[in-house]
């Protein structure tokens, strides 16, 4: 039966791909991951304003690669011997002895920068894919009650961005109406004032509307429960910090590592559950978590664990050689691990068809 998949499943799927990408810098595998994400997005993307974010994130990825390359050229120490060109170098004072500015630029270091940037871009593409597939509002419905208020502020912020763009267009138009130049830095600065004022007024109006509609109503709680909640959350946080620190610092005693992490997690979960009881919210038509969701989660697990294990065991081919540069190898196991994540394009239920074709937004038709 056609239905929307649980947004959490899509985020798990994207996380699986992102974990895989974080373990490698082989450009062929990274491009394969982007292709897999793109394929699933094309197959299961709903027709909604947020579903165009995949393309936006891909473009941001390109910018990231460019920035990474520029940084490599200007500040990072070169690797390899194939000098492409030499920038005038600046001698820095002794305090900054470790920093280099300018100097020779090698093909190897640029290649390494591109691979590195591509890895970041791939992770961004995974986030973009999840954004396109899962409605932010539906995700909000699925988060724990204790985090609800935080979630609302995030969603409101997200929905305001397109509104700001529309405002900017309107203010630009009015600059023309007053016979002023439409572009330019000064023009943009002058336009910012009414746009920000408009955004502020709208957020105040929205806050008033939400309050009028019962947002933030709370159940009565005894002082004991309130204190217990605070204590559980606080202890959990402290224990988590100690645990993570002990795990990362090899010299810390072993009993501070995993046990503290476990204690922290347990206290945190208890705190969340107690805090959640304060909220009296119910949920309208929550998304079910059924076989397709389990299937998507399993795909994510396979992809992520393949790469975690492969990189732990030091499988060759995950990292492409840059010095000297060579055509990267393509390990078949890694390819299979990535291709598993293309399955959601077929195993998930098809999208429900809108009863009436979705038209353009009201602003767009100038109503």
């Amino acid at each position: 039966m056609p239905r929307m998949l649980h947004p959490g499943a899509w985020w798990l799927w994207a996380t699986g791909l992102a974990i895989a990408a974080s373990r490698i810098n082989n450009p062929l595998l990274l491009l394969l991951i982007i292709a897999v994400a793109g394929l699933v997005v094309a197959a299961r993307r709903p027709r909604a304003p947020w579903s165009r974010s995949f393309g936006v994130f891909l473009r941001i990825g390109l910018i990231v690669i460019a920035i990474r390359v520029v940084f490599q050229v200007i500040v990072a120490a070169p690797i390899g011997v194939t000098v492409l060109f030499t920038l005038p170098s600046v001698t820095l004072p002794d305090v900054l002895a470790g920093v280099r500015l300018g100097g020779p630029v090698t093909a190897e270091s640029i290649l390494a920068a591109i691979y590195d940037g591509l890895r970041l871009a791939t992770i961004l593409a995974c986030v973009g894919a999840a954004n396109s597939l899962a409605s932010p509002a539906r995700l909000l419905k699925a988060i724990p009650a204790a985090l609800y208020e935080f979630g609302v502020s995030v969603v409101v912020a997200v929905t305001f961005a397109p509104q700001l763009v529309a405002d900017l267009d309107r203010v630009r138009a009015t600059r023309r109406l007053r016979g002023r130049p439409e572009g330019g830095v000064r023009g943009a600065a002058r336009a910012a004032v009414p746009v920000l004022e408009g955004a502020l007024e709208r957020s105040v109006a929205l806050a008033a509307a939400m309050d009028s509609r019962g947002y933030g109503r709370q159940a009565e709680r005894s002082p004991g429960v309130r204190r217990a909640t605070t204590a559980a959350l606080l202890i959990g946080l402290v224990a988590l910090i100690i645990g993570v620190y002990a795990l990362l610092d090899a010299s810390a005693p072993a009993y501070l590592g995993l046990p503290m992490l476990a204690v922290g997690l347990a206290c945190g979960l208890v705190g969340f559950a107690l805090a959640g009881r304060r909220s009296t919210r119910t949920r309208y038509r929550p998304d079910p978590w059924a076989w397709p969701e389990w299937g998507v989660a399993a795909c994510a697990l396979v992809t992520a664990s393949t790469f975690l294990a492969a990189s732990a065991m030091g499988m060759t081919g995950l990292v492409a050689p840059v010095d000297p540069p060579a055509w990267p190898a393509v390990p078949p196991l890694a390819v299979i691990g990535i291709l598993v994540s293309v399955l959601p394009a077929v195993i998930t239920p098809p999208l429900p068809r809108p009863r009436i074709p979705v038209g353009l937004t009201r602003e767009a038709v100038g109503a």
């Binding site: 909604a48 304003p49 409605s135 509002a137 609302v152 409101v156 929905t159 309107r170 203010v171 138009a173 009015t174 023309r176 109406l177 007053r178 016979g179 002023r180 130049p181 002058r190 336009a191 004032v193 009414p194 004022e197 709208r202 109006a205 929205l206 806050a207 008033a208 509307a209 939400m210 309050d211 009028s212 509609r213 019962g214 947002y215 933030g216 109503r217 009296t280 919210r281 119910t282 949920r283 309208y284 038509r285 929550p286 429900p352 809108p354 009863r355 009436i356 979705v358 038209g359 353009l360 937004t361 009201r362 602003e363 767009a364 038709v365 100038g366 109503a367």
Partner: protein, 539 residues
């Protein structure tokens, strides 16, 4: 149901109270209409009902407001959400979710209503408000009337006993407004909901009101009374009431239907009076020829041909989304048409910039605050002088003619709607544009301010400007327009002298014409001043 005990509300830093000594009791199941001039405290009173004033806005509230026995000083708006549904002025600004169905469920989710009940109430509300066809549409894709109905539905699902609405029909075309009002009447009749509603367009809503809450705004406390007696003295009243006052009809008619029954004698007296004459027009200034424009796949204008001459006042009418705003932005060159030509005094506006553009054509946008960006009126005026290469002080002088009461040191945001419109008009007019365009200028304006605007526009036309107004306000059209152009679906469906187009039209006819006309195409006066002039008495 709703009780105000000697309530006086003063905002922080305000010299005088926004609401003075309101002492009233609204019964269960009543439809109460709040009337008063702009700035008289209508919104303040509405927002005090669910505690937004003072919990949200600050300020002090003396006295006591209780709704269904709950005191708003002890209850926050969210604690009253189960008995009061509040529909704000701009429904779009109140939407929290992104689709119709989710929006309808939002209040219930906040109130902790169980899943089964929520499901049932959403289905009921979709049917009650006729929204079943759009249930899974994104809110951004809805028309104005649909938005307003979703906003009403979104608070109705919580089964409130009181519904508070701030100008529910001001932004709507006449058809959509009737849809919304029919819905409200059904709620009052079938479900016994108490409705409190503020509205400037009394001609649309007066006949539905059980009682009127008049806020005089001159320091006297609000008066809650029967519609007839209250309208006798109200400073704001729809044309049909003014006509009744003029003709000394007793009881005072509140609806066209009431008035028609008493209008026989007046019709006879007007029968042999020559009513109006073709206005003199000058040279042609705007010519649009087979113009098409579209947004992506969606056509907005499908081959429009229109000529405008000096001295004409043209009203562009048609439902929301018919292409009025697109036509205006094409005229000022903000959009280039896909096909066809647009000429302002012989020149394509899209090629014009700066003083050359604003000297030929000016547009006052729907939200006149868009034009303003400085922090004082004076600075705004000096900017306008510079933009138009005029002598310093020209705009300020013009503004002094349009609205002498405006203080040049005031912040534009502190002006009333009408004053802000006057400022925007002065800024646009200082460049002496041959063509003046106004997009929905009467939203939020009360009758006296509207009359003032009409006077200004008539003066401009007499001095040879061409004026084009896109509007839903049939009374303004009857008052100032010499010609009416009706758009539907991007096409011109009617174009002719105002009386010819509006008389006999159920949607576009002004109240006076509805009262006086007995057959379509008959020549009758369209406004109360016109009737008074025809009778030779002072209106």
């Amino acid at each position: 149901m709703i009780r105000f005990d000697h309530v006086t509300i003063t905002y922080e830093g305000a010299a005088s109270p926004a609401l003075i000594d309101a002492d009233l009791h609204i019964q269960e199941g009543e439809l109460v209409l709040v009337v008063g001039r702009t700035g008289s405290g209508k919104s303040t009173l509405l927002r005090a009902i669910n505690g937004l004033v003072p919990h949200f806005t600050g300020g002090t509230l003396q006295g006591r407001v209780t709704v269904d026995g709950r005191d708003t000083s002890a209850h926050h708006p969210r604690d009253l959400a189960d008995i009061i549904g509040m529909v704000p002025q701009d429904p779009m600004s109140s939407f929290v979710t992104d689709t119709v169905e989710e929006e309808l469920a939002y209040s219930m989710e906040c109130l902790g209503i169980d899943a089964g009940t929520m499901r049932r109430r959403v289905e009921e509300t979709l049917d009650l408000l006729g929204l079943a066809d759009v249930r899974d549409r994104p809110l951004l894709s809805l028309s104005g009337g649909q938005c307003q109905r979703v906003a009403i539905g979104a608070v109705l699902t919580a089964h409130p006993r009181v519904l508070v609405l701030d100008e529910p029909t001001s932004a709507l075309d006449p058809g959509a407004a009737e849809e919304v009002l029919a819905t409200l009447q059904r709620l009052v009749h079938d479900l016994g909901v108490t409705v409190v509603m503020a509205e400037h367009r009394l001609e649309r809503v007066l006949e539905y009101a059980d009682r009127i809450l008049l806020i005089p705004g001159d320091g006297r406390p609000p008066i809650l009374g029967e519609p007839g007696p209250t309208m006798q003295t109200s400073p704001v009243a729809p044309p049909v009431v003014h006509l009744g006052r003029l003709a000394h009809w007793q009881p005072l008619p509140l609806s066209v239907r009431d008035a028609r029954r008493q209008a026989g004698a007046l019709r006879d007296r007007l029968a042999d009076v020559a009513v109006d004459h073709e206005p003199a027009t000058g040279a042609r200034v705007v010519s649009i020829d087979r113009t098409r424009a579209s947004y992506g796949q969606i056509p907005a204008l499908r081959g429009i041909t229109l000529k405008v001459s000096q001295g004409e006042v043209i009203a562009l009418m048609g439902r929301n989304g018919a292409g009025k705003s697109t036509l205006l932005s094409t005229l000022v060159g903000l959009r280039r048409p896909d096909a066809g030509t647009v000429r302002i005094a012989g020149i394509d506006p899209a090629t014009l910039r700066g003083p050359k553009l604003i000297g030929r054509i000016g547009l006052v946008p729907q939200d006149s605050a868009d034009l303003l960006s400085r922090d004082t009126v004076g600075a705004e005026c000096r900017d306008a002088d510079r933009d138009a290469h005029c002598a310093e002080g020209s705009t300020a002088g013009l503004l002094a003619d349009l609205a002498p009461e405006i203080d040049l040191d005031a912040h534009p945001r502190d002006l009333s709607e009408g004053q802000r419109l006057a400022l925007a008009l002065a800024i646009v007019l200082v460049a002496e544009p041959a063509v003046l365009l106004l997009d929905e200028p009467t939203r939020g304006l009360d009758y006296p301010t509207k009359a003032r605007l009409a006077e200004i526009l008539r003066g401009l036309a007499a001095r040879g400007h061409a004026v084009v107004i896109a509007t839903h306000d049939v009374e303004l059209v009857a008052d100032v327009a010499t010609r009416v152009v009706v758009l539907a679906d991007g096409e011109v469906v009617a174009d002719g002298p105002t009386p010819q187009v509006v008389i006999g039209s159920p949607l576009f006819a002004p109240q006076v014409a509805k009262v006086l006309a007995t057959c379509p195409g008959e020549r009758v006066p369209l406004t109360v001043p016109a009737v008074a002039a025809a009778l030779g008495v002072a209106g």
